[in-house]
């Protein structure tokens, strides 16, 4: 701080500090505090706000436990509150999306970092970047066009004689979340690719060659040399993809079936259709807490710091 004052004087230093304070306080801390505070208040008509009914309680949070719903988890029948079920589904299928993107992106990241010729890299990266510039809404819409009942996928498969009847892809084959998983994987796979690519680039190729010269089979070279080195990139990619998937509202709404509920959709319904902002706040607090727990878990699991993840 002394250093700043000496270099830029009182005036400029206070401008810097004011900008930072505005950001941290007005845009980050106070809004989250407001959400926290409002989530404990009941949803009341304007005239009753501040009245005798306006007391703090956990009522909004306990709404997530309402409405038991018969369901099965891995074949075991259970009765779960419907919103809890939605929450668990969201977490599970987001994890699945994260896994798929990792499996798709890792070989490609390795190819870009170590196999492709360095001179062609800028061109290859540009090719990969093109879909990123097309907005997410349109990318989801592209899959809507493909998966729709009378769409090209059914037509192509029927033309090839693979299937006889059109399939309702949006209702899913394995689970009702198939379409959501497919499209989320498509939308976010590049968020997995780039951190891993950056991490592998910094690995000295001699290490890979040394492992190979010493007789290590390819899978062990990856398992013991490349993957440990790429760990911060993998952690970063996993956190990004999981967060984006679990927080996506657009993709589930555009391609999801009516049976597939995503937790952000539940929050949006409270917020926008029921106009119950307080319960919406309570639900997003739950969601936020889950996200924080996930990030901390990943940091522990991969033994990385926050500064490694947010790059």
């Amino acid at each position: 701080m002394q250093d700043l004052l000496r270099r830029y004087g009182t005036g400029l230093t206070s401008v810097f500090c004011l900008l930072v304070a505005f950001w941290i306080l007005v845009l980050i801390v106070l809004p989250n505090f407001a959400m926290f505070e409002q989530s404990f208040r009941p949803y009341l008509p304007v005239v009753e706000v501040g009245g005798p009914k306006d007391v703090y309680s956990f009522a909004n949070y306990s709404k997530i436990l309402d409405n038991g719903f018969e369901s099965t988890i891995f074949g075991i029948p259970v009765t779960l509150p419907i919103h809890v079920l939605t929450f668990l589904d969201t977490v599970f299928f987001s994890a699945l999306v994260t896994f798929f993107t990792l499996v798709f992106a890792y070989p490609l990241a390795y190819y870009l970092a170590k196999i492709a010729s360095p001179r062609s890299i800028p061109t290859l990266l540009l090719l990969l970047f093109i879909p990123m510039w097309v907005s997410e809404a349109l990318r989801a819409f592209a899959w809507y066009v493909i998966l729709t009942f009378n769409g090209p996928l059914n037509a192509a498969l029927k033309g090839l004689g693979i299937i006889e009847e059109s399939i309702r892809w949006q209702n899913g084959i394995f689970t009702s979340y198939d379409a959501i998983v497919i499209v989320l994987t498509y939308c976010y796979v590049l968020f997995m690719l780039f951190p891993i690519y950056t991490a592998i680039t910094s690995l000295d190729t001699n290490q890979i060659e040394a492992a190979e010269d010493l007789g290590s089979p390819w899978w062990r070279t990856h398992w013991r040399v490349v993957i440990p080195h790429a760990k911060p990139g993998i952690a970063s990619g996993c956190v990004m993809v999981f967060m984006l998937s679990a927080g996506s509202l657009l993709v589930p709404t555009v391609v999801g079936s009516t049976k597939a509920n995503w937790f952000p959709q539940t929050i949006y319904t409270w917020f926008n259709d029921a106009l119950d902002w307080n319960t919406g706040a309570a639900y997003s607090m739950i969601f936020l807490l889950a996200c924080i727990v996930f990030v901390i878990l990943m940091m522990r699991l991969f033994r990385v710091k926050l500064s490694d993840i947010a790059k």
Binding site: L4, R7, G9, I24, L27, P152, A156, A281, L288, S307
Partner: protein, 288 residues
């Protein structure tokens, strides 16, 4: 062995690019199908009609303009905030730095809808507690979308500028001060010129992040919408291939920009290679 692997790699890359591009091509193709539903099969004949529809859609162009304005406002706020944050962060160390850094990058990882909801609730409450409920600034609207977006986009700016600051030599500022420059001059003539590449890059990123943004905008907007939200609402409520026509135009624009960028890069690379070759020849000539 390693040649096989390289071929496998090329193949995988080609398949991957195909996987990324085919859905976009299908979507763009449907813009020319004379069918009420956006699809390429069955093909009912070629038409330009959807582009006419697109042109006539006033709401869409309004939303497009809104997107640009919001993005410009986000750039105008996020770039100074992020730059100031990087400078402040760079000048402190230890425990406070880690805490401050944590606060700054947290919104990047936070889900967009949480940012949106918390922003709306905060300004709403502020309006209520100051008794100015009806004052437009406290209600939902695009101005709150701007503030919500700035809260996490500023972090991208901060990260980029902070990285650039690592290569800055503070001795230059010392020298300028010793030679009698005032504080404003030190900032304007010494520090900022060094940071400009990072600031420009972060401004571009901030602009596109804002255009792309969906979650924050959906929760904070009132009646006025941005392009992404408009496309979303169109897709949800019975779509026409008008959106495909829009997608086609955007994809063509993207491809054109990518092509120009690639050609410029190649020309630069060629000039550099020639220069290097010349230098090498000159060196060899000297040795002889």
């Amino acid at each position: 062995m390693s040649r096989n692997r390289a071929i496998l790699g090329h193949l995988y890359f080609a398949l991957f690019v195909l996987y990324l591009l085919v859905p976009l091509a299908v979507m763009a193709g449907a813009a020319f199908n004379d069918s009420k539903l956006p699809t390429i099969a069955p093909w009912k004949g070629f038409t330009w009609a959807w582009f006419g529809d697109l042109w006539a859609d006033q709401t869409l162009w309004g939303a497009f303009l809104n997107s640009i304005l919001v993005a410009l406002a986000v750039v105008a706020l996020a770039v100074p905030i992020g730059t100031a944050a990087a400078i402040v962060l760079n000048s402190i160390s230890g425990k406070y730095r880690a805490t401050l850094y944590g606060f700054m990058v947290a919104p990047v990882l936070a889900p967009g809808l949480v940012i949106g909801i918390s922003t709306v609730l905060f300004w709403n409450q502020l309006g209520r507690s100051t008794g100015a409920d009806d004052f437009f600034l406290f209600g939902r609207g695009l101005h709150l979308a701007i503030l919500g977006q700035v809260s996490y986009i500023a972090a991208y700016v901060m990260l980029l500028v902070l990285a650039r600051l690592q290569s800055f030599d503070p001795g230059l500022e010392e020298a300028a001060l010793d030679l009698g420059a005032n504080h404003g001059q030190v900032l304007r003539r010494i520090l900022l010129p060094h940071l400009y590449p990072a600031i420009l890059a972060s401004a571009a990123i901030a602009f596109f992040q804002s255009i792309e943004n969906f979650n924050v905008t959906l929760f904070t907007k009132a009646n006025e919408t941005t392009l992404t939200v408009y496309v979303f609402s169109q897709v949800r409520s019975g779509i026409t291939p008008k959106i495909n026509a829009l997608a086609f135009l955007l994809i063509v624009l993207t491809l054109a920009l990518a092509l120009i960028y690639e050609m410029k890069r190649r020309r630069r690379a060629r000039i550099e290679a020639e220069r290097e070759a010349e230098a090498r020849r000159a060196e060899e000539a000297m040795l002889i």
